[in-house]
Symmetry: C2
Subunit: 433 residues, 2 copies
């Protein structure tokens, strides 16, 4: 069995105006759908980040993939997948999916998932069963809350309102969370911060705790918006709220900054774990993160960490070093949803619910035949279908691809959206507070 074709479909997915320290989400998130076909007529699908950079990396790996046996993934990893050893790999200034230093790793990851889908279909087995079997039968995700402006994304004929409305206060955030928990059954909560004044974000977390109680662990992630001083202040203020299953994620920029926040909190007797997907973006970051104490919970990602097997490796590594492991998310469609769910289910050490932006997208823009992936009690159940367990609706792929080609942008730029809609002089400043 050899791979005989590799097709790349850039797509645009309506996205609401979510806010973060990077700025404001554009009306469309860019993604890429990948389809591999084998000489036996088996099809493997995958999903990757979107835009020109992602597409160029996929085009570059293509000649190595066409003709290859889909089982021979180590060879592709060794030839092409490993990230560049030199240079800053942090995502302090780059949104995930835009870091040129892991571009090849991300392309490898996309190919790996499609190959595992093929292998699963060829053997009649779900992907998770090919990777050691299920450490759990369902992948738990958290309610991923965002401050946001009103609106559900899209442009012109496509424009639509969303069911979430504007959310720029602690009170409306509690409402957003109640709705999300009601609809999806999430049991853990993560707030994207770095948007309002820190005191308001502290207040948001407190109101969430008051509304949901300590059975719902709470996390906050301001994407490096705070100084060390402010990070420590938030850590002290939310000492209770972020304990027991909670964490403080990337409060400040750089490994050194993170380590200093940790040190100062520990000195004050506060053991809130520090989580990161900004300071730790690749395997080479784990040892310094561990040595300096900068990170206690690493956010994996089956896309930019280099595939599902690398998420397993990362989980084992973290488990061994006494670090926790969770999973990062970007805006994504149902293909990535299942890649993430399989990755979680084959990683015994992954004991924090994973992030997902999935609730922010809608049925209207799903590329899966049969519609969106279902959640049960906040988790995605891995069934018995072969491979990733999904099929593409090619009409939907074509529609989103057509839309992609009409868009004027080829790269995520949340700062530009801020200048367009919120403040013409907006710049990302770190630390902002």
């Amino acid at each position: 069995m050899r791979i005989s074709s590799f097709s790349i479909h850039p797509v645009a997915v309506a996205d609401p105006p979510l806010r973060s320290s990077y700025g404001r989400h554009a009306p469309y998130a860019l993604r890429t759908i990948i389809i591999l076909t084998t000489t036996d007529g088996i099809t493997g699908v995958s999903e990757a980040h979107g835009g020109d950079g992602s597409q160029a990396a996929l085009e570059a790996i293509k000649p190595m993939v066409v003709g290859m046996d889909p089982f021979q993934l180590h060879a592709l990893w060794m030839n092409w997948g490993r990230p560049d050893a030199t240079g800053d790999r942090s995502q302090t200034w780059l949104v995930p999916g835009e870091n040129p230093r892991d571009a090849r790793t991300r392309a490898y990851a996309a190919v790996e998932a499609a190959c595992l889908d093929i292998i699963g279909k060829a053997t009649g087995r779900p992907v998770c069963d090919l990777l050691g079997g299920r450490a759990r039968d369902a992948a738990p995700f958290s309610a991923y809350l965002f401050y946001k402006h009103g609106g559900g994304g899209g442009l012109e004929a496509d424009t639509r309102e969303d069911e979430w409305g504007e959310c720029l206060t602690p009170e409306t955030m509690v409402g957003q969370c109640q709705r999300m928990v009601r609809e999806y059954g999430f049991r853990e909560i993560k707030l994207k911060g770095g948007v309002l004044e820190p005191e308001l974000e502290i207040e948001t977390i407190r109101q969430l705790r008051a509304a949901f109680g300590p059975a719902y662990p709470l996390r906050i992630d301001p994407n490096c918006a705070w100084s060390v001083e402010t990070s420590v202040h938030v850590g002290v203020s939310l000492k209770e709220e972020l304990s027991e299953g909670g964490y403080l994620e990337d409060p400040t920029a750089s490994m050194e900054g993170m380590a200093e926040v940790r040190r100062r909190l520990l000195e004050l007797g506060i053991d809130t774990p520090m989580a990161s997907n900004v300071a730790t973006t690749g395997f080479d970051d784990i040892s310094p993160a561990w040595r300096t104490g900068a990170v206690q919970v690493v956010l994996s990602d089956p896309h930019y960490w280099g595939g599902i097997r690398n998420v397993q490796r990362l989980s084992a590594l973290c488990g061994q070093l006494g670090m926790g492991v969770s999973m990062h998310s970007n805006n994504h469609l149902g293909v990535s949803m299942m890649i993430m769910a399989h990755a979680c289910c084959v990683s015994p050490e992954m004991e924090f619910a994973c992030d997902t932006h999935y609730p922010w997208q809608t049925e209207q823009d799903e590329v899966l035949a049969g519609g969106r992936v279902k959640f049960v009690d906040g988790a995605v159940v891995i069934g018995d279908k072969p491979g990733l367990g999904i099929e593409l609706d090619m009409d939907q792929v074509a529609r989103l691809e057509e839309r992609y080609h009409k868009l004027p942008f080829r790269k995520r730029d949340d700062a530009e959206e801020m200048r367009k809609h919120v403040d013409p002089a907006w710049q990302r400043i770190l630390p902002r507070w």
Copy 2:
């Protein structure tokens, strides 16, 4: 597909009187052959350590395995396979395979290999292809040299001479190595030390270097026979000989002792890596070994480290921490040979040739249909046969099992053999020198 039967065949394999710091090998090495059968009639084979302890652990895991889907290995690992977290896991005083703290891990490992063999046969693929594919097509092994008495093992009617003869001097060791390199094509050399006076072992390594030149990396492993002082002396004396692909393996007992040897050698500007399978026997040992500098090369083992996937995890972990990784061996048959070869081929980071006792066993005691595993240029080539790529010769299994039942011992005891044949007062003393 479910596992419907689990049969355990203890076997005895003729073994020459090899020497180490543990004493002298008995005339038979004890091993266990495991055969799983599925409801679809597929057979999976495996091999484990031998004797009563091993058998009891296999009997204990059996009820969990019969009825299980062979793909669901993580569940078995989480329920049963993980080693005990408490207590000393070192092998300073226990030969590998006799440590009660990893008894369950070893039983899990045996089941994992048999399940992978089943999965491979069910899918028509070699085991290595189910684990990410080949990082290399052949697994390189080293010439594993032993000081020894004359004789090829066996008892009474079974007694036979071997082609190797007595080897208790530097000069005869060069002859042993020349023969082994000629017959197997090995490219790296490991000497089991801790037997003769350290000056004689230093002289042995020097004569090996003189005979083979620097293209053949050299290692020496006295299994903790030396004090820190003697270890440093050997390290200094063999500074050149153990560099560039060589290592000093377990010269002294305990993590602290190893760390002190390393520190003192570094102070003298000697960077010879320290390797270990005694101080590091499980994942929990890696972090202290790394932190203290006690170990630079970890010797994995698909048996007591908990299977092939755990060797992959260990390799990735070592790679990430900047440690090297190789593979430990016990006396074994062709089934373990292939388990070890597949484990090596799916571990990209394994860049040292692995250990194997295989040259010390003979065709006469092989349990594989078609005879012994072949070596090409010191390596075992992974072919395209499904699973482990082997079939059992059940007549041979029956013969070795019958022999096992006639033996008076159920446990490896190299010290007892010393008392019987060499010195009635022999005790293992650490450090001996």
